[in-house]
Symmetry: C2
Subunit: 426 residues, 2 copies
């Protein structure tokens, strides 16, 4: 793994894949087809892209029962404990409606309401991700969303991975459709004869899913467009090279475009981690993918001082940040931009991916500058409440009319004044 001096290098960041014009056109055509032709179009694309001929998309209770019964007990217990941890953490994010009252009788406030219906996209293919189900469905459930719908592409046998269905059962998702790709996003956004539209679509997916989500944004809300996964480890001489290297590789195995950086104040650690990465890479099942990520998108940066190292981390705005330093907790306050911060030796990143409780859906590609982890807040929306009393109205009506006229909006001023010149007034 390459070692560079921070003073000489600016750190490259992978950008979001926006797709090319041809891919965008393809996605737009699918969306339009599903919007017009509903289930018929969804069926067509499911046969075309997933090689599955389905009569109905809905997963039956029987299919879920079967999946649950096939999960071994230990795995079920782990899923169950993870779900409990995720629930407990997200319950802390619940916001209350609030109101303020004024002496003149006016009430102002903010009402928090769960979304009516949410669609969760769960990727299929070779890798099945039960953790995605938990991390998307549980915050929605905790928020109070009544209708949580899951979509996931079927295999050519028309089936959905059992682990995903078991996780759905654990998370309380009861409406599951075997559809995927842009056609699934379209079905969720526009609705079909058998699938009612939702208000928001969350969850990861391939490029076509991402393009489709971007395209329907506005018709429905979306969570975020995820780029390649990334990790930055901020470490000093107290860190253990073997552990740092293993944590870097855990993100590198996500894909060729992943980025795994080490920023360190220790030249010795830099060299030891570089060696360890090479060594550990050798017998990784996903060696090829991880090697490309490490060699083409990642590096070890040596900093002259803690301040220089911290500033580099803030410039990176990593999705995952590990702080493996003496007094690691004291460094947290210096971090302005990071999706999740893992503090200390025992906070290995995968603990957050699966188990600890905070969400694993995090801002990638430097968007931690302005974005947050997926949370309960993503599944509620707010309404302002303004209840002016007669006294407050009489006191302030002229001021409002003056402000409106300053902006040239006469009908706004007259709306307020209409209360004065009416028989029913006073």
């Amino acid at each position: 793994m390459q070692i560079r001096y921070l003073s000489d290098y600016s750190i490259p960041r992978p950008s979001l894949d926006q797709g090319n014009e041809e891919q965008k056109k393809k996605v737009k055509d699918i969306l339009e087809d599903v919007r017009r032709n509903g289930d018929r179009a969804v069926k067509k694309y499911t046969a075309m892209f997933d090689q599955a001929e389905l009569d109905a998309f809905l997963v039956t209770d029987g299919e879920v029962d079967k999946a649950v019964s096939e999960v071994d007990e230990e795995t079920w217990n782990v899923l169950h404990e993870a779900a409990a941890n995720i629930t407990a953490f997200h319950e802390r994010q619940i916001q209350q409606s609030w109101m303020t009252t004024q002496e003149n009788g006016t009430i102002l406030g903010q009402k928090v309401t769960p979304l009516d219906a949410v669609g969760i996209y769960v990727p299929g293919g070779t890798a099945a991700y039960p953790s995605s189900v938990l991390m998307n469905a549980i915050p929605a459930k905790v928020a109070g969303v009544k209708r949580v719908v899951m979509v996931t592409p079927p295999g050519p046998d028309g089936l959905v991975p059992g682990g995903v269905l078991a996780a759905a059962r654990l998370a309380g998702v009861r409406e599951i459709y075997k559809i995927g790709g842009a056609q699934a996003v379209a079905a969720l956004a526009y609705g079909t004869e058998t699938i009612e539209r939702v208000d928001k679509i969350t969850g990861p997916g391939n490029l076509y899913v991402a393009l489709a989500k971007r395209e329907v944004f506005g018709v429905v809300d979306i969570d975020m467009i995820a780029g390649p996964s990334d990790i930055t480890v901020l470490a000093d001489h107290t860190a253990v090279a073997r552990e740092v290297a293993a944590d870097l590789l855990s993100q590198a195995e996500h894909g060729e475009l992943s980025q795994a950086n080490l920023v360190t104040t220790s030249k010795e650690l830099a060299e030891a981690v570089s060696n360890e990465v090479g060594f550990q890479l050798e017998d990784l099942p996903r060696k090829e993918m991880a090697s490309t990520a490490i060699n083409e998108h990642s590096a070890i940066y040596v900093a002259e001082s803690l301040d220089e190292a911290v500033e580099a981390v803030n410039r990176i705005a990593p999705e995952h940040l590990e702080i493996q330093m003496e007094d690691a907790m004291e460094v947290v306050g210096k971090i302005r931009h990071a999706g999740a911060i893992f503090v200390g030796r025992y906070s290995s990143e995968p603990i957050g991916d699966y188990f600890a409780g905070p969400n694993h859906t995090l801002p990638t590609s430097g968007t931690a500058r302005f974005s947050s982890p997926l949370s309960v807040e993503d599944f509620v929306k707010k309404s302002s409440i303004i209840a002016y009393s007669q006294a407050a109205f009489i006191e302030n009506a002229d001021k409002v009319a003056r402000f409106a006229r300053l902006e040239g909006l006469e009908a706004h001023a007259r709306a307020v004044e209409s209360r004065f010149s009416n028989k029913k007034y006073d």
Copy 2:
């Protein structure tokens, strides 16, 4: 104004204007030009679109001083009081970072951090909107954003409206550039030689500004893409027709595409409001615009029952909702979807536009189904914190490794296990 029975009609909703391909291409070209050529490109487009030849974009302190001195005292006082109300309301939205500690020593939490830098777009042209400055800048300031930048297009004389500058002074905005359109959005998103890039762009604008914001979304965050303004008044026989009509017209004057609906349980009120609207329209300065909005996009809907009326309102998901009914406050709990809810006779909508305190930037075009008013939350982001203790790690490492292997991610499992097989361990 047309009267319809809810039982017979589904209520049409204006959709977001997405622009045509030619407009999108134009915007993309401008963005790309500014990204490559910086100030030179911004200067070129400012001359082209605003007919202003500028040597520098930055508004000087002297220009702001002059603008403030030209505002009459009464107007200044109104602006000042509005700013105080907006500040007080938004201070209620401040969220705290939080942490939970577990007996085994683990700490989990959520850190709230203000964005580093935010750009506020303030439209120019014939109408100057000081209220936009207050409604965008104050939440950013309350959130703790250090750098709040304002951009607004200059007139052909190279000047910016005084009211807008006065509002900027009141809101504490000190970095103001005389640029507008897609070129201003590009300068904020990518940065130029004289304008440092920001992390988020908020504020209303014309179609080109909206298209540019949509295009740079991902490079920076944006607030929302605003559609035409709308209001729905929910009223019974106790409402005053003259006042309801005036409130409907206050939104209709915003533009030809605005929508102003009345949903009422009273046939008599429906007829009276219909007459009043016709009558009051006659001598409105923006009569033409408001007439088009009323005749082509708005209607009065008569409901058989309160429940039917409320259900219609929830289907509309209005930007502004007025409840002009007996026991209006009791109806609030039935409303699931609305940007702002104005309760009772004295809560005329313009009071919320300018003065009461809640934000006037609200979800349009039915997006109140899933979106919220602009708030302090739009100017902060969160980072999860995971600090596992050794005890918690030993207790849970095997479970995490099991979950990782369930998803086929071996390097994730090994990252956790690397803590066990190391000399430094224990």
